[in-house]
Symmetry: C2
Subunit: 297 residues, 2 copies
């Protein structure tokens, strides 16, 4: 399942409860579009804002609707005890793989992060993807730590942050990571704006935010990149530059994608759990125009 487009849907709320109807609508939109896998309870799925019971429910709903499309579920939590419980519950609810970021309040040390992944690797029966997201975790992985963790049982992919720079530079970076990892270890790229080059540089999967709302747009980039069509993949990605710009000025993709789902009436307004607020004012108006101009779907 660690190949192609992994689509990360929102977990919309309505009056601060999970909006199951809207969530199901989002999942069906993705499976109908033919995404390669689903990534529920990722950062876009607001896993850190949900209770244990809410997380289980999200996995259950996704698994029930996903048909043949594999489902990966985020299990990150502040406390190792809760990470292990989340892993068990997600597996029990039918998740095909787990996604784990070294979430922190007190930023973690390398020893702490390794011990956490080791404990999880001894506890699970499905594949685990390492989630490297320094912006939300305040933790910087080193290539050496990637290597140590990738040697643990059940650790099957790493979701790396987007790599900036031209394709030559990105290839060098991805190549240097691959040298440290087991052969054919599937690296996955995140950071949608940089995903095309990430795939062209040798990542085999795109853990994608826009894939969770605009699967056609993301599939276009993914298919072009994975078939080696550099020009077409980069053209399709550059076409979305105004969207990448909105992500950049709004502290990441979440508030923008939530506003887009609201604008398209795919979810209720507001769909984010408080205190998070989706885009409003001129930014929201610009986004509405963009969705139309770029025919995002």
């Amino acid at each position: 399942m660690f190949h192609g487009l992994s689509a990360f849907p929102l977990t919309p709320v309505k009056n601060e409860e999970i909006d199951e109807q809207s969530f199901e609508r989002l999942i069906l939109r993705l499976t109908e579009a033919g995404v390669d896998s689903l990534g529920v309870l990722g950062s876009t799925g607001n896993y850190m804002y949900l209770s244990q019971a809410e997380r289980v429910r999200v996995v259950e709903l996704a698994v029930a609707l996903s048909g043949d499309t594999p489902v990966m579920a985020g299990i990150g939590a502040m406390r190792a005890r809760d990470v292990l419980a989340n892993a068990e519950l997600a597996q029990g609810a039918g998740a095909d793989a787990l996604l784990l970021a070294p979430v922190s309040y007190q930023p973690l040390t390398e020893d702490e992060v390794f011990a956490l992944f080791k404990a999880v690797s001894q506890h699970v029966s499905v594949p685990v993807c390492v989630y490297d997201n320094p912006r939300t975790t305040q933790f910087q992985f080193t290539p050496t730590l990637y290597q140590k963790i990738a040697e643990l049982p059940h650790i099957t992919s790493i979701k790396i942050p987007g790599v900036d720079g031209d394709l030559h530079h990105v290839k060098r970076h991805v190549g240097s990571l691959q040298e440290k990892l087991p052969e054919n270890f599937p690296l996955g790229v995140s950071g949608d704006a940089l995903a095309a080059n990430g795939l062209l540089a040798g990542c085999s999967i795109w853990y994608s935010v826009i894939g969770g709302l605009f699967p056609q747009a993301a599939l276009g980039i993914t298919r072009a990149a994975l078939s080696g069509n550099v020009e077409e993949a980069q053209r399709l990605s550059q076409r979305l530059q105004p969207l990448w710009d909105l992500f950049a000025v709004n502290g990441g993709s979440l508030r923008v994608i939530a506003a887009a789902a609201e604008i398209l009436d795919l979810v209720e307004t507001p769909c984010l759990p408080q205190p998070l607020l989706s885009l409003d004012g001129p930014g929201r108006a610009a986004l509405a125009r963009l969705i139309e101009e770029l025919d995002l779907q």
Copy 2:
């Protein structure tokens, strides 16, 4: 209660459950030493690692043992819904005041933080202290936001990060904040290494990590500073420079203070919830020597 030394104890665990016996020992150590208030469920109290039920229990235990010493309790959570629930539960358990940091997974915007404090201020009946800790929250307060939040009902103090520099500089910084705030609004300093100058510069309270384990050392600095004895307060603080250095190289005070409590057999080893690990190896040995050499108590 927003005056003098506010001591922030650890919440020790034992086999990943709250170690009630050790926690009670820590609380009694503080009340017997005569600290001016207790700050339970602060960063040192590992609030973000505890379940709602565990948090209630901590407040109950502290209130039951604190006698006349007022108790402030941390209520921060990722989700506004949980912050409000924590506020209600802490009040119900007898907390005299609440402490709230704008905790995040997705770093918050200024609008989101203001809305959160506004909601809490409308929900509570006891004083609320704003907790400004950019290292753990990834949020930078501005003086203007301090001002807006301080005007809300029930907002009664701000716990500011330590201000580096000489006393003249710290006085200018604290003075410029005070100009923006209501008259006699109690600013509290944190960042133990910089606390002496913070108090000398006009902060009225020290929200103190070492105060939670070494109350005598912290009371000495507090009493000297608040009686205007610049030389003595700075001398007592400089004496602890090797401890401040250990904090600096270990990603903050928590892992060092936890190791100190373990070394002194005031708690079980390990006393931190996983994945957090207290100091080990040469750092732990150096700390053990320091405790003895400085006669910390």
